[in-house]
Every structure is written in C-alpha cells, then in structure tokens.
Symmetry: C2
Subunit: 224 residues, 2 copies
DNA sequence: GTCTATACAAGGATAGAC
DNA sequence: GTCTATCCTTGTATAGAC
C-alpha cells in the first residue's frame, strides 16, 4: 500500500492547500466576469479558464460543474447582500436610515460591479436559479422594511408613499451605475466613474429621494 | 428556360409575400424573447426556430445570420425609443414634460418588455454592438435635454440638480419594472403587474421625482 | 421559396496519464 | 493533485433536394 489518498505536492506547494485556494479564487473572479457579461448559457468554461490562466478542465476539477460554479457565485453575492442594513427599527431616524441604505447600496455596486451584473443577468433571464430566494428570503426582507417605512409615514416622518415601490426605486437607481455602466460611460464620455463622481451621484440620489418622499429629519421636526 | 428565379407558390400562399412577412414577424418576436433571456451568445437559433414554429435553417434563410438578426432587433428597439419625446423646449412646463417623460418610458417598457430586456442584456454585456449609438446619437439626445433642464433650474422652475443623473434616475426607475420583472413579481407575490399597478407606480415615480427635484408647476408659480 | 441533410467548430464533461 | 486526450452534444452555417 503506497500513498493512495494522500495529496501529491509539487512545484513549491507548501502542502497547506495554498495552490487550491489561489486557483479557486482566480476561477471565481474570472467566472464572475464571464457570467456577468454573457449570462449563464452564454458563458463558456473555455473563456473562464483562459481568464483564470488555467487549463479548461481544471475549472471543472475545482468547481465540479458549470452549474455548481454559477450557483456558488450567486450564493457569494447573496451573502454580500445580506450583510447590508440588517437591522433597522421604527425608532431610527428615517433620513439617516434611507441615506445609509442608498449609500451602502451604491458601495456594494461599486465594490462588486461584476457580482451586481451577474445578479442582473440572472434576473433578466427570469431568475431560474433564484426563484425561491426572491419569493422567500428577499421578500421577507423587503416586507419587514416596508412595514417600518409605513410606520414612519403614520408618525408623520415621511409621506405615505408605497414602501415597496420606494425600495425598488432605490435599488434600481443605485444598481444602474453598475449594471448599465457601459451606457453611463458612453453617454457621459467618461472612461470610468471616479470616487468623486460616485459621491456626487450618491448625494444627488439621497437628496432627490428623501425630498421626494417628504422625509423630515429630526432637526426639521424640532424646527417646525 | 423554364421558371428560374420566379418564386414557387404553394400551400395557399397568394403570391404577395404574405408567408415571408408572417414568418419574419414570428422569427423576430421569438428572437427578441430568446436574446432578451439569454443574451447574444446564450441564445440559440434552435431555440428561436422552435419558438417561431419553423425549422432551424429557415431562421437563417430569412435573417441571413445570427448576428444580422440580433442587429435588426436592436435597430427596431432604437427606432421605438427614438419615437419618444422627440422635441421639448425651454418654454414647456417642466412638470408636464417630466411627467410625460416618465409616463412614456413606462409605457415603452410595458409595451415592449422583451425589447427592453434585450437592450438591457446588450448593455450589461458591455454594449459591444451599441457603442457608437450610446456615445453618439443617444449622448446627443441626453445632452440636448440636459441643457433644457439646466435652463429650467436657472429660471427657478426646479432645483439645480445634475440633469444627466436625473435622466438616468428616470430611466433606471422605469426600466426596472421590465428588466427586473422576475424580481418584482417574486417580491410582491403577484403573477403579473396589472394596468392599475403600472398606473400606481407611474404616479408614485412622478410624485417622488418631481417633488424631489423641486419642480414647480405653473399653478405653483402663480400661487406663490 | 422552403426545408432536409450535412459540414465543421465549440460546448460541457469524463477517463486516464503524469 | 494537476493536466492532456477524448467523448458526445449542441452550435452556426451552407449545399442541395423538393
């Protein structure tokens, strides 16, 4: 019985799984780009492998299948998403919460534009892999927040707008800069959006949406 | 010399090109769905042919190539787009123009959801076929309107917000209901969006965006 | 003018060499 | 543990039958 299940280490691999870790990271990054750009069907393992600098079959060796790789990416993006704005209460200040909401959403789109586009492509295609997530976990998330917005309206802290449409408005307005980046750059004539641009856009959206919903900050309440 | 270039009519084809017209229409409709759902690469002629109820190679017979078919669909959508809101002037009422803008954009998304998603998929993928359109024709369109918004702001008819970000806000907020339809339906738990839903959303967006930009209608000017 | 048959490349996935 | 060689399916496109 010579070595059978034991891993064979070569080429300076120190034996702690560093190669695997690095390769997986490269594959995930490359796959996110390719799936974002071409959708699930349009993406090819060939393309992913080339961008990761690996032979084609290593992608399958590490990830099992195209489908599994794709699902793993979706889950990673859901986890990033879930880390946002996880607990708000009726006692919080509407202006602060909505601004933080807009800001964190812009930051997420900016930090992970490929992930954002991956998600967009999935939903554009009818969300075949995300059905239960949308109508389960995410629906609950939205409705919990919607309830709070309604209570703010009842307390006169903002206009009685439909809270679900408001959440969609914030989502669409912020994601636009990641998902439609090609259009934004083409029309503005810019090469990229700078940090300063993003800051200005965030301020614009915050101002328009808060004012548009008649959000009174605490200061206003005292003043009036 | 028997009939050589003359078309052979069969199966009740009256000889006026009705078959061709009908087949092309079916192909374009099917292709719009498939390209919207899977993007350019992910779409297959097989799938398009099946949905159009035709043998696979007829798609190529009528359309020449996959690429040509795709470009034809993009152009059809651009034409629909260009028919919208083609001339506005500084003398117009900002409230009326912005409301008409939001409303016509919502209607376009509602009337042609597949076309809207086709466009979205193209831009998501980096707009390989639409580069010059975005940085040419569409850019000019945006800047002409932006100039008018600025003049309204100078005249005190609305807040001095960045007009380009405002246009993007209106685009993203309205397109969302076509492009992210799967998400909207999942979260709201609806099967479809009714005309009444769309009307309520339009009213919501109009109210929030106009108020958010401090748009004064003519009546307000008189009253203040 | 329409459709069947076919060419040839690229797709995902697996077996087996190293 | 990693990579090469290969299988089989599906993809676009074309030639030629009807």
């Amino acid at each position: 019985m010579t070595q059978r299940d034991a891993p064979v280490r070569t080429r300076g691999d120190s034996g702690n799984g560093a190669t695997r870790e690095r390769n997986e990271r490269e594959i995930l990054a490359a796959a996110e780009r390719v799936f974002a750009r071409h959708g699930y069907r349009g993406a090819s393992l060939q393309d992913i492998a080339e961008q990761a600098g690996l032979p084609k079959s290593n992608v399958l060796y590490y990830m099992g299948s195209k489908r599994g790789l794709y699902i793993r990416l979706l889950e990673r993006m859901m986890a990033r998403w879930n880390a946002l704005l996880d607990d708000i209460s009726v006692e919080d200040d509407p202006a602060e919460v909505l601004e933080a909401f807009i800001r964190s959403k812009m930051e997420l789109s900016r930090r992970h534009p490929e992930g954002s586009r991956l998600f967009a492509a999935e939903i554009l295609g009818g969300a075949p892999f995300l059905q239960e997530y949308l109508s389960g976990e995410l629906r609950d998330w939205v409705q919990a927040r919607a309830r709070i917005f309604e209570q703010w309206a009842e307390r006169g802290l903002m206009d009685p707008v439909d809270p679900v449409w408001l959440i969609f408005l914030i989502w669409s307005a912020t994601q636009h800069y990641a998902d439609f980046e090609a259009q934004v750059l083409g029309i503005t004539g810019k090469e990229t959006l700078s940090d300063a641009d993003v800051e200005r856009i965030t301020a614009f959206l915050t101002q328009v949406i808060l004012k548009g919903c008649g959000v009174r900050s605490r200061d206003d309440r005292v003043a009036s």
